[in-house]
C-alpha cells in the first residue's frame, strides 16, 4: 500500500515527467551527444571514430579558432556593455512624464521585431562606403569610412547593429524595473536634498541591480550565440575580423564536414557562457549584498 505522501510525490512526478522528458530528449540529450562527439572524428558520412582530446588540441593550435575566440569575447563584452548602457539610458529617458513617450517606446521597440535578415541587409547598405551613415557623417568633417571592409572597424560596426537591435528590448525590462521603484523613496531623497545624480546613484542604481543583473546575463548569453549578424553583414571578414565562434562552428561542421571538431568548439563556447554566467552571478550577488 502506497502512503498518501508517496502518492502525492508520484503525482507530482507524473506531472513534471513530460517536461523532463522534453528537456532530456531535445536539450540535454543533444548537449551530451555533442560533448561526446567532440572526442571523435566524424565527417557525417562514416561512423564517429574516437580520437580523445585531439580535436581540442587541434583547435588550440589553430590561429583561426584563436582569432574567432578573441572576436567572440570582444563582441560579448562590447555588446553587453553598450546594450546595458543604452537600454538604461533609453529607459530613463522614457520614464519621464514627457508627451509622446509611449509612441517613442513603440517606435524604438520596432527595431526588435523586424526580421533579422532584413535588419542585416539594410545595415549592409547603410554601412556601404557611400551609404547613409557616411553621408550623415560627412557634414561633421568625416571622410569615407569603410565600416564593413576595414578590419579595425568591422567588429565595432557589428556591435553597433547589435545594440541598435537589442537595446530597445532591454529598455522595456529596465522600464519595468524603474516603475517598480516606489516613488516615496524619491520624495524622501528629494526632501533630504539629494540632487538628480545622487538620487540616481544611491537609489535608482541599487534598486535596479536585480534587473541590471538580468539584462547583463541575458545580453551576454545572447551575444555569445550571435551568428546571423556577422554571417550576413560581413561573412566573418574582412579576413577573420568578425568571425565569431558560432560562425566557426557552422563552417567547421557543415562546410568542412568536421563534426567532431565543430562539437569541440561548441563545448568551448558553452564553457565560456557558463564561466561568464557564474562570474556575473558572483559579482552581482556581492553587489546586492553590499547594497542590502
Amino acid at each position: 500500500m502506497i502512503s498518501y505522501r508517496w502518492r502525492i510525490r508520484l503525482w507530482g512526478m507524473a506531472f513534471v515527467a513530460p517536461t523532463i522528458a522534453y528537456f532530456l530528449v531535445f536539450k540535454y540529450g543533444p548537449m551530451l551527444w555533442a560533448m561526446g562527439l567532440s572526442f571523435t572524428s566524424y565527417d557525417m558520412m562514416k561512423p564517429p571514430r574516437w580520437v580523445g582530446l585531439e580535436n581540442y588540441a587541434s583547435i588550440v593550435r589553430d590561429p583561426i579558432f584563436r582569432a574567432a575566440l578573441l572576436n567572440t569575447l570582444v563582441y560579448i563584452a562590447g555588446s553587453t556593455v553598450f546594450i546595458t548602457l543604452m537600454a538604461l539610458g533609453l529607459a530613463l529617458a522614457i520614464n519621464t512624464r514627457g508627451r509622446g513617450r509611449r509612441v517613442c517606446m513603440s517606435g524604438m521597440f520596432l527595431t526588435n521585431i523586424m526580421p533579422i535578415l532584413a535588419v542585416c541587409l539594410v545595415w549592409r547598405f547603410l554601412f556601404h562606403p557611400h551609404g547613409l551613415v557616411n553621408q550623415l557623417l560627412r557634414p561633421l568633417g568625416f571622410g569615407r569610412i569603410d565600416w564593413l571592409t576595414d578590419s579595425t572597424l568591422a567588429m565595432p560596426a557589428i556591435i553597433l547593429v547589435t545594440v541598435w537591435r537589442f537595446a530597445p528590448y532591454f529598455m522595456v525590462v529596465f522600464l519595468a524595473g524603474l516603475l517598480a521603484i516606489p516613488p516615496e523613496y524619491y520624495e524622501a531623497a528629494e526632501i533630504d536634498g539629494a540632487d538628480v545624480l545622487r538620487r540616481f546613484r544611491h537609489l535608482t542604481l541599487p534598486l535596479l541591480m536585480p534587473v541590471t543583473f538580468f539584462v547583463v546575463v541575458v545580453a551576454a548569453l545572447l551575444s555569445a550565440r550571435i551568428f546571423l549578424m556577422p554571417y550576413i553583414i560581413t561573412g566573418g571578414g574582412p579576413g577573420n575580423a568578425t568571425r565569431v565562434l558560432s560562425m566557426l562552428i557552422y563552417e567547421t561542421g557543415f562546410s568542412y564536414m568536421k563534426m567532431g571538431r565543430a562539437a569541440a568548439i561548441s563545448v568551448v563556447l558553452f564553457a565560456i557562457v557558463m564561466v561568464l554566467t557564474v562570474v556575473q552571478m558572483k559579482l552581482f550577488t556581492r553587489g546586492e549584498e553590499d547594497y542590502a
Partner: protein, 451 residues
C-alpha cells in the same frame, strides 16, 4: 469468329493476319523511332535533388516530369535548394540517412563525395555508350578529369561552362575604344583599358573599369584560379602541399591586386553583388567589364532591359598572360547516384538521367547560353549556332582551366577568400597573406589525411 462492325464479317484467319501485321508494325516503329526507355517492372520512387536557378531547375523539372509520364511506374520526388545550400543539404542527408537517391552536384565537390565513397560508379552502357572510352571521347576533357576515378565514371554531365570577360560596349565607345579591336588580351592591357573606362569623383567611383567579385569564396576561386594557371602556378605540389605562396602565387595575387593598386580601376569595398547575382555591378553599369559565366539574356533583361534590348554587351575571352595559356575557369554540374541506394534504384536513375539528357537542343533552348559538357548532339544545330556570341562562349568552355581537385575544397576556397580580403581590403602584404592561406590549407590537408 465474326465481327459485326461495318456490317462486314471478319474471319478468324483475317483477324490473326491483321493482329500480326499490327504487331510487326509496332515493332518496326519502336526499332526505328526514338529509343524506348526502360520500364521498371515494379513501382519505384526516386528522390532527386538539384539546385535552383531560373532556367536550369525548371528545365530539369520538365524533363523529369516527362520521364514520369513515359514511365508510370516511376515516381520522382523532385526537390531543389539554393545553389549555396545544396552541397550542405546533401552532406546532412548522408549523415542522417536521408540523402537523395540521385542528385546534381557541382563538379568541384566530386572529390568530396568520391573520397568518402558516397557516389556510385556509373554504368556507361546504361547511359547509351558502347564503352568507357566512347563516353570519355564524347565529353570535354576538363569534365572527364573531374568525373572519373580509377577508370570509372561517377558523374553524368549537365552543363559545363567557362568564364568570359563581359564588356559594356557602350562604355567602351564612350571613351573611344573599339570593343572588338581593343578588347584586352593580357592583364596589362586589361589594366590599361580598365583605367580608361574608370570614372571617379573624388574618392568615389562613378564607374569601375573592371570588377573582381569579392562577395563569396567560390567566386574568389573562380577568378583567381586562371591567373594562377596563367603564371605557371599550381595549387598543390606532388606531395599534396599547398604551393599558392610560392613565386607564381605571389605573381598571380599581384596581378589580381593590380587593378586596384596599380591602375586604380576598381574599388574592392564598393559592390552591390550578392551570391545569386555576382554580375550585378556590371548589369547596373557600375563597372565596365566583369568576368562571368555565360549570362542569359533573360538575366540581363531583368536587371537592365535597355542593355538587353540595345545589345550593348559583348562576351570576349578573359585576359591571359600569353595567348597559349588557358584563359579562364570552367566548371560544371553532374548527375550522380547515391552509392547507398539499392541496385534497382541505381539502374532506374541511369535510365532517368539518359532520358533527361537525350535532347540537348531542347536543353540549350531552355537554358542558353549555358553550354554543355557533351561534344555531340548540339553544337551543330542551327538554333545553337544562331545564338549571339555563342562561339566565344563555347571557346571559353574549351579553353578553361579546371578548379583544383581536392577533398578540402571548402577550406581552400575560404582560405583564399580570406587572403584576397586581407590584400585587397586591408592592404596586407601579399606574401604574408598567401603564407597564412597556404598554412591553413596544409593544416586542413593534414587533418583530412589523419581522418
Amino acid at each position: 469468329m465474326k465481327h459485326a462492325s461495318n456490317g462486314r464479317a471478319v474471319t478468324r484467319r483475317q483477324a490473326i493476319k491483321r493482329m500480326s501485321a499490327l504487331g510487326a508494325g509496332a515493332a518496326a516503329v519502336t526499332a526505328g523511332g526514338p529509343r524506348a526507355f526502360a520500364q521498371p517492372k515494379a513501382p519505384i520512387t526516386l528522390s532527386f535533388w538539384t539546385f535552383d536557378n531560373p532556367q536550369q531547375r525548371p528545365w530539369i523539372h520538365k524533363r523529369v516530369n516527362q520521364y514520369m509520364e513515359k514511365n508510370p511506374n516511376v515516381k520522382v520526388d523532385f526537390q531543389w535548394f539554393t545553389f549555396a545550400d545544396l552541397g550542405k543539404k546533401v552532406s546532412v542527408g548522408y549523415a542522417t540517412g536521408t540523402a537523395p537517391d540521385g542528385f546534381v552536384t557541382g563538379d568541384w565537390l566530386m572529390p568530396t563525395w568520391l573520397a568518402r565513397n558516397l557516389i556510385a560508379p556509373l554504368d556507361v552502357k546504361l547511359l547509351g555508350y558502347s564503352s568507357l572510352d566512347a563516353f570519355r571521347k564524347d565529353h570535354a576533357d576538363a569534365f572527364v578529369a573531374g568525373a572519373m576515378k580509377d577508370g570509372q565514371a561517377y558523374g553524368y554531365p549537365l552543363w559545363f561552362y567557362g568564364f568570359c570577360n563581359y564588356l559594356n560596349t557602350k562604355q567602351f565607345k564612350e571613351v573611344g575604344l573599339d570593343p572588338v579591336k581593343d578588347q584586352p588580351k593580357t592583364w596589362t592591357e586589361l589594366g590599361e583599358v580598365a583605367k580608361r573606362l574608370t570614372i571617379k569623383q573624388g574618392n568615389k567611383f562613378t564607374r569601375q573599369g573592371f570588377k573582381f567579385a569579392m562577395h563569396a569564396a567560390q567566386w574568389t576561386m573562380i577568378q583567381f584560379n586562371p591567373i594562377v594557371s596563367q603564371v605557371g602556378g599550381q595549387w598543390f605540389d606532388a606531395s599534396g602541399r599547398c604551393t599558392i605562396n610560392n613565386e607564381a602565387g605571389v605573381k598571380a595575387m599581384t596581378i589580381r591586386a593590380s587593378l586596384a593598386r596599380q591602375y586604380g580601376a576598381e574599388d574592392p569595398a564598393d559592390s552591390i553583388a550578392t551570391f545569386p547575382l555576382p554580375q550585378m555591378d556590371w548589369l547596373k553599369e557600375r563597372c565596365a567589364m566583369f568576368s562571368c559565366h555565360p549570362i542569359p539574356p533573360a538575366a540581363i533583361k531583368s536587371q537592365n532591359p535597355v542593355m538587353e534590348s540595345e545589345g550593348y554587351f559583348l562576351p570576349v575571352q578573359m585576359a591571359g598572360v600569353t595567348p597559349d595559356k588557358r584563359y579562364t575557369t570552367c566548371y560544371g554540374f553532374n548527375l550522380v547516384v547515391n552509392a547507398r541506394v539499392p541496385k534497382a534504384k541505381q539502374e532506374a536513375l541511369h535510365d532517368m538521367y539518359r532520358f533527361v539528357m537525350s535532347d540537348l537542343v531542347d536543353c540549350w533552348e531552355a537554358t542558353a547560353p549555358f553550354t554543355l559538357a557533351r561534344k555531340s548532339g548540339w553544337t551543330d544545330d542551327p538554333r545553337v549556332k544562331s545564338f549571339p556570341h555563342v562561339q566565344e562562349i563555347i571557346k571559353a568552355k574549351d579553353n578553361g582551366v579546371f578548379f583544383p581537385r581536392t577533398p578540402i575544397w571548402a577550406e581552400l576556397a575560404d582560405a583564399m577568400h580570406r587572403a584576397v580580403q586581407k590584400v585587397m581590403l586591408n592592404n596586407a602584404d601579399i606574401k604574408t597573406a598567401l603564407d597564412e592561406a597556404a598554412a591553413e590549407v596544409d593544416r586542413a590537408t593534414a587533418e583530412f589525411k589523419k581522418s
